[in-house]
Subunit: 230 residues, 2 copies
DNA sequence: CCGGTTTTCGCCTTTCGGTCGAAAACGTGG
DNA sequence: CCACGTTTTCGACCGAAAGGCGAAAACCGG
């Protein structure tokens, strides 16, 4: 009573081949053999949940390639995992820049979030939550930096946002919105045009000071500008 | 190994006497005797965390007076609670409308979030997270309904928002923003003026259809209007 | 009836996001 | 080397959203 297993799971998302994809591995053993599940594992005695998920993910990918990790939610339905002991899960959202292609074990693969294979336990619900969280935060924070390469053209960034949000966004507007918030910075270099010609695209980067998630953009603002006191 | 106690805790917030306050109870026993802590308790074997926090809160207040409950985060530092077994906590944010004054046990009291008494364990950090979450969501969702009475004047609502956000908001603008989103509705009635006179204030309510948290307002919107596909 | 008080409402300005189209800067093919 | 297609960039326009102000409305007490 009161004792239960605790596991950590992560929906690691990346935009690859133009679609938002999630890293899954195929279970070899029962329960749910041959179904696909999120990477993760049991919380160790001497680590907090965030250290734990990073440790578990290290078995699947190079953790240095993870540009962002944040808690999603606790999943705790008593029977979410069959077995003798009850298992509570802390789910995380992980992000990988689209410029990387992490090497993954042979039982692991990427799947588009909109076309998942048969999933284990409640992992599909976790992926859904991850998608929603990502879409929300792309809108009102600077989380885009975690999906983007170190340098990118505006149209490449537009593709990233479209894939992650699930709808088209205007390149003009995207650039203006991000620039106005001081998140975007031109590198000075340009990318070569494609095989069919066209004007060379300027390269941008997210300003380095902002490589973390900033506060969400408030709609009801303070009169001049103040913060939430200590 | 892998087995740990799991507790649920809630930062129950309410605007009372013009300031944002949190419900705390004074510990009688060690550890941390006479320090103040958040209500909560051990997760039961046959309930999920949300059912658990509602059950635990029922020992402190009438749960029907809780207008909103949502997960905040997991707190899992290995030594966050001293003792033989490791204790992981799922923290919740709870809200009570300012019109209610729940009866609480004798060991329980309300404290302004900006002037907390000595707190137990990591509960102060949890309260801070709750404040931040509330302030954020007030801006870009309709969460205000959970703080407000069934009917209220605009200036009363302005006071609520100011207390919860920590800065002054304009009554004119607040009314316009909420109205434009279709969240506010006049009841038709008016409130009597104060002792020093003044024009009687019109009473409003949050439209009943919206007594739940709606999706945050997206900044980068789809071209016409679509949703996140299934 | 008059001054004090509080709310309400219209108006103005600024900012923001969405859209469009022209201009710029490339390759290609005649 | 010039016309053409292609792609990016940027300015312009527009409506919507938000902040601010002050006049008018509606009450009180004297």
């Amino acid at each position: 009573m009161g004792l239960a297993g605790h596991e950590v799971l992560a929906a690691v998302l990346q935009v690859r081949a133009g679609s938002l994809q999630v890293m899954l591995w195929e279970r070899a053993k029962e329960p749910h053999a041959h179904r696909w599940s999120l990477p993760g594992g049991t919380l160790g005695d001497h680590e907090d949940v965030e250290a734990s998920i990073r440790r578990q993910l290290a078995e699947k990918v190079d953790v240095r390639q993870l540009s962002h990790v944040e808690q999603l939610a606790v999943f705790s339905a008593p029977s979410r995992v069959p077995g003798l002991t009850r298992v509570v899960a802390t789910a995380f959202l992980g992000l990988v820049p689209s410029s990387l292609d992490p090497v993954v074990p042979s039982d692991t693969a990427w799947y588009p979030v909109s076309a998942l294979p048969p999933t284990a336990f409640d992992h599909e619900a976790i992926v859904l939550r991850a998608r929603q969280r990502l879409a929300s935060k792309l809108s009102y924070t600077n989380l885009g930096f975690a999906l983007a390469p170190p340098a990118f053209t505006i149209s490449a960034l537009r593709s990233l946002y479209s894939a992650a949000l699930g709808y088209k966004v205007s390149a003009t507007n995207l650039q203006r919105v991000l620039s106005r918030r001081g998140l975007l910075e031109p590198t000075g270099a340009t990318a070569p045009p494609g095989p069919s010609g066209g004007r060379p695209a300027a390269l941008f980067r997210f300003v380095s000071r902002e490589m973390r998630v900033t506060d969400p953009f408030a709609v009801l603002r303070p009169p001049s500008s103040r913060s939430l006191g200590p």
